[in-house]
Structure formats: C-alpha cells, structure tokens
C-alpha cells in the first residue's frame, strides 16, 4: 500500500478515529492492527519474514535480560565469598554467554536480509567472475521478491537487541508490543530507524488527543505530499528521460546531478514528512531524519543532516564496536610498533570508516554502483579529514572567510551539494562505468551546452517550460520555509496560528491537486526508498 493511494488515507483516518476513541491503556493495539493491515496490503507472503525477525529478536532479548538479571542475583548473593578476580571472571563468563546469544540472533537476522536481498547480486558477481576466467558454467540466479522494508525493520530489530545486550533499554515483555515497535506502519517502509528507548514509551502510553498534534500532523503530511507529488515526481520525468535516453551526456549530466538531487530530496524528505505527520497524529514524535541537508558546508556535516537515523545506526552499532574491538586494538599495536605513531593512530579510523561505508553502500542496494557510492563517500570524508590542517592554516590566513556566513558559506554549501549530487548519480545509472563516463562527459562534451539555449532541453526531456517555472517556484518556497525552521519546525509554529495553518493547508491541497504529477501518464511513482 503506497502513500499515494486513497486506501492509505482511509487507513490513517480510521486508525486516528479509533485510537482516540479507545481507552488509553489499549490504544496501542489500534496501531498494531493498522500496521498489520498496512503491511499485509503490500503483499501477504512477506508477513512470515517480518514475523520471523520479530519472534527471534524477542526471544533472544528476553533470554539476554534474564541471563543478565540472574548473573546479578548470583553476584549479590555470593558477594562476600568471591574475590574480585573470581567476580570479574564470572562476569566475563556470563557476558560471553550473553554475547553468544546476541551473535546468534544477529547472524540469523542479517542472514535473512542477505539471502533475500543479495543472493541475486552475489550470484551475478560469481557468474561475472566465472565468465571472466573463461569458465562456461554459470550459476542459475533466482529472483527473490524483497519483503517490504526489510532493510529498515531488520535494522530497527537488531538495534533493539544490541541495546538490550548493552543494558541501554529494557527488554519488551509482551511480544505484541514489541511487534508494534518493529512494524509501526508509518516507519516500516522507509524508516526512520528509531531507537527502542525513544519510540517505545510513546507507542505504548496512550497519548491524549491534543489539538496541536492533529494540526501539526495534518500540515506535515500535506507538506510531505507537496514535496513528493508536486516537486519530486515532476522533476523525475526529466531525470528518467536523461537516464533512459541515449547520448544525454555533457550538460545533461550536470542537469541530472541537479535534478536528481531535487527528486531524491522531494521523494525521501517528503516521504519522511508524511511518516512524521502520521505519527504526530497519534501524538508520537519520531526522531528527525533530515535537518536542512543542503545547507551543510562539508560532507561530514552533510551526513549529520541527511538520513540521520541511518548514520547514527551505523555509527553506534558498527563503526564504534568495530574500531574499539580487540582485534582492531591488536592490529593497531602491531602497526604502531612497525610503521610509527602516525599510521598507528589513523589505521583503526580509516579501516573502520571504509568498512562502514562499504556496508552502508551495500545496504542501500544490491549492486556495484551502491557499493562504489558508499566507498566514495567514505574516501571523501577521510580525505577531507586529512586536509583539515591545511584548511585550518587557510582559515588562519583569511579569518574573514567564515564557512557559516556570507558568500564563502554559500560557496561551501553549493560545493557540498554538487559533490554529493555527483556521487549520488551512481544510483541513477546503476552501472558504474556508465556513471563515470557520463560524469566525465561534463568536462569535455561542450557541444551539448547549446541545447540549453536552443530550447531542445525542453523538447528532449518531456518537461515543459511552465513545469520548470513551477519547479523553480516550489523549490524557492521549500527553501524559505526550511530557512525559517532553524529553531522550530514549520508544522509546530503553524499549529499555534490557526488562520495561517488553514490557509497554508488549503494552498497545499490546491497545489498538489493541480500541479501534482500523478494519475494517467505519470503512473504515480513508488517512493524510491520503497524498494529497500
């Protein structure tokens, strides 16, 4: 069930109505039923997969927390007759047993994800290698249907189990409550990957009906649809033409970089706005996934503003554990003795970063283009970290050039926007050599620039002049609204000004209905992140 269908709107309406009618204690059951309906509508045969993840992680979490409490009892009982070393050894043994359970359930769940998402890809790669070495034999490649939102709910479940292991959050007693946490319907398709400690309390205590939740939620949903249907889907027509057409290189490649950034911004932040808005209707505030990403001055800052919950998941559950793990420690010690202090200090950081970004790319999709996309992002961050001292010297020499203000600030923002945009077109072509060829063509195919002026850019790509005018106006509106969101979100500000709220919502509905790219001829596009 995609966000751009009437059945989704009906489901929200029914769920909100029921939610506030039932007594507070059992309100969470409405959310669970809505989530099951929403998920089953997407395809009933996926249910066993999400059920498997829910059940395995639930049992493991209960087991770990029981083992932990039993261990504490044992220690508090025998505190006197155990020496410090004995106590330490016992604790280490117990922790090892808990760790075994954790590893088992992680391997199982990531195994499901790997099999469902990457079998085709790995077998193709194997076939590629085999044919590269002249072996005629090829392995048959089954195309497995990817369960809806498997990448997102698997991460939410594994994040939860690791938090329980680390004692950061309480293991859920009731399996149905836990199932709601994993499959809460606004989150299941494209996140955010929220943490149990933050989301669970809001999910289970029945939130009371408050007017500003409803008004803020409604505005945010409309704002999401406006960004998705009016902006992203209109620009998508041009992007698709460039990707599927032959010979659209040179200026068109730059066009693709800019327009695809507009598409992915409208599509992903729009989808998340709808998710946030729907959750807000139930009085639930989810973690923000975007904070004005295109105003970031550097790649590092960009990844703190774009898809925040994914970034923090990879940092907390992959990057840190890996870089402070024992094997990494031993490796650094050996390198430090042999290659000197400089390398020793850098090695864990570089290795951990590259591995994390390799897996981030792989998580985005089963394809070389995604992996390369991840690696390039990693390398850019590391290179800019290496050049930091040079930047520091540069800034000392020109103190007036402040990255946050003035022309230089704008320059940094545009530079980061174009840099991230160029790396992102790896998603579009899905084929690494073609992406690089197309990117390279910007710098030598100057003949294509005349298309910009003789109007053939309009005729070639199927996006009319007036639609570009609309896109420019809409992007300006988004730009000004997000600028005023520094301190507080627009939906919260508006929920205190009823007249302005009503006018804004009406205008949004009118613009979406008239200027939206939906219906016949546009085949209302699936959210890009839905295929994850």
């Amino acid at each position: 069930m995609s966000y751009t269908t009437w059945s989704f709107v009906a489901l929200i309406f029914a769920a909100v109505l029921l939610y506030y009618l039932l007594p507070k204690r059992i309100r969470w059951t409405v959310l669970l039923c809505a989530s099951v309906i929403f998920y089953a509508a997407g395809g009933g045969w996926y249910l066993p997969f999400i059920a498997a993840t829910v059940i395995t992680t639930h049992i493991a979490a209960r087991a770990i927390s029981k083992m932990a409490s039993r261990a504490e009892e044992y220690i508090s009982l025998h505190r006197e007759d155990m020496s410090k070393e004995e106590r330490k050894a016992y604790k280490a043994k117990e922790k090892g047993r808990r760790c075994a359970v954790l590893v088992a359930v992680l391997v199982l769940n990531f195994g499901i994800l790997a099999v469902m998402k990457y079998t085709g890809f790995t077998l193709n790669a194997v076939n590629g290698l085999l044919s590269a070495f002249g072996r005629g034999v090829t392995v048959p490649v089954p195309d497995l249907l990817l369960p809806l939102g498997i990448s997102f709910y698997t991460f939410r479940a594994t994040g939860y189990i690791i938090d329980v292991y680390r004692g950061k959050t309480e293991a859920e007693k009731n399996i149905f409550r836990y199932a709601l946490f994993v499959s809460f319907f606004p989150l299941v398709l494209q996140g955010p990957i929220s943490r149990h400690s933050k989301l669970a309390p809001q999910l289970f205590e029945g939130n009371s009906l408050r007017r500003e939740n409803i008004t803020a939620g409604i505005f945010r949903i409309l704002w999401g649809y406006f960004k998705k249907v009016a902006i992203a889907d209109t620009a998508l027509v041009g992007v698709r033409a460039v990707i599927s057409g032959e010979g659209f290189t040179g200026m068109y490649a730059l066009y693709l970089i800019i327009m695809y950034s507009v598409v992915i911004y409208g599509d992903f932040t729009g989808g998340i706005d709808i998710t946030m808005g729907v959750a807000r209707l139930f009085g639930i505030r989810l973690e923000e996934n975007f904070k004005r990403p295109f105003s970031s001055r550097s790649t590092q800052e960009y990844w703190n503003r774009w898809h925040i919950t994914m970034g923090s998941w990879f940092t907390d559950y992959l990057f840190y554990p890996m870089s402070v793990s024992k094997p990494m420690g031993r490796l650094t010690k050996r390198c430090r003795t042999r290659l000197g202090k400089g390398i020793g200090m850098r090695l864990p950081v570089y290795l951990a970063t590259l591995i994390t970004w390799y897996l981030t790319g792989l998580w985005h999709g089963a394809g070389w283009n995604f992996i390369v996309w991840g690696l390039i992002n990693g390398v850019i961050i590391l290179v800019s970290r290496e050049l930091e001292p040079l930047y520091a010297k540069f800034h000392k020499k020109f103190p007036s050039l402040d990255t946050q203000k003035g022309a230089y600030g704008v320059f940094c923002a545009v530079r980061t926007f174009l840099l991230m945009g160029s790396v992102r077109i790896l998603d579009c072509y899905g084929d690494v050599p073609r992406t690089f060829a197309s990117f390279g063509s910007i710098f030598y195919r100057f003949d294509t620039w005349k298309d910009l002026f003789n109007g053939s850019i309009i005729t070639n790509l199927g996006v009319g002049v007036w639609q570009y005018v609309f896109l420019a106006a809409a992007t300006l509106v988004v730009f000004f609204v997000t600028r005023r969101e520094r301190d507080e979100l627009a939906c919260d500000k508006l929920s205190r000004k009823p007249v302005l709220w009503a006018v804004a919502c009406t205008a949004l509905i009118f613009v979406i209905v008239i200027f939206g790219s939906y219906g016949i001829g546009f085949d209302s596009n699936q959210f890009i992140y839905n295929q994850f």
Partner: protein, 161 residues
C-alpha cells in the same frame, strides 16, 4: 609527507576496487527479434518510418487519421510482394506491421507464402503458440504470425506486440 602518502594510498585502493568491479556486470539476454529483409534493407518492427523511403517508390500509398481528433496519421506502403504499415509514436511514425502478400518474397529464414506448415516449423523451429489457422513466433516486442489455410501459408505478418 605522511599525509600525502595516505591520501595516495586511499585513492589507489579506490581505483583498484573500481577497476575490478566494473568488469563483472553481466549483460542482459533478450528474446530473438525477427526481421524482414526487403532486397537488402533490413526492416524491423519499431524502426523509424523514414527507412521506408529507402525502399524505392511504392506501388501504392495511403494514410488515414484516427477519428476523434487524436493527432497522428497511420500509413501503408504497398511494394511488390509486401506491404509496410507505420503508426504514430513518441517522436514520429514507426513501423508497426510488415505483411508478405505473395510468394515472390521470402522471409530471411526462407519461408514464403505457399510453404507447408511442416516447412515453416522446419525453418523456424517450434512456434511460441499455435492455433488451427496460425503459427505464432514471439520476438522482442513483436511477433511473427504465419496464417495457415488447409496446411499452406497464405499470409506472413510481422506485428508489433
């Protein structure tokens, strides 16, 4: 100095991974596309209509608009032994049907009007589908149909799917 080395090492590693990975993208195989050869010029379903001009002057030609003011004009060109039909598409007309009308012209596989059903299957292999009055060979975005009347081919048509 150390800083420059580490940058070089990094970019080298990246370039290496790119090189290895790029070679492994498998191409995609597609079904066979049946084409018709008109005295040396290959005609394919979906090809732009301009290729018809290179076939010389047709014996007869006609065009007709579809009713209801839908823009675009369907055309037919009659040559000796075969006809070529074109229809409006995104940027200009494309060939949407080629029909062999008599036995003076053969398909590239050597089948002509008048051949028997067995000859067709021998030349073309097993059909994708078969009915009492036709043998159909599905191709990429098109199909090749042999119309059979009491065991002999009366008409051969390449039609857009």
């Amino acid at each position: 100095m150390k800083r420059i080395i580490s940058i070089l090492v990094l970019t080298l590693a990246l370039a290496l991974t790119l090189g290895v990975f790029c070679g492994c993208d498998g191409g995609n195989s597609d079904k066979k596309t049946y084409t018709f050869n008109a005295d040396g010029i290959m005609l394919k379903i979906g090809a732009p209509a301009s290729v018809v001009n290179s076939l010389g002057t047709p014996i007869a030609k006609d065009e007709s608009a579809s009713c209801g003011g839908i823009p675009g004009v369907d055309e037919v060109y009659v040559f000796s032994g075969y006809k070529v039909y074109t229809t409006p598409a995104k940027d200009g007309n494309v060939i949407n049907k080629i029909e062999i009308t008599d036995d003076s012209v053969k398909t590239p596989e050597g089948v002509a009007a008048g051949s028997t059903k067995a000859e067709v299957i021998k030349a073309m292999g097993e059909p994708t589908s078969e009915s009492g009055t036709s043998l159909v060979y599905a191709g990429n975005g098109m199909k090749l149909t042999f119309i059979i009347r009491n065991d002999t081919v009366t008409s051969i048509q390449y039609v857009a799917e």
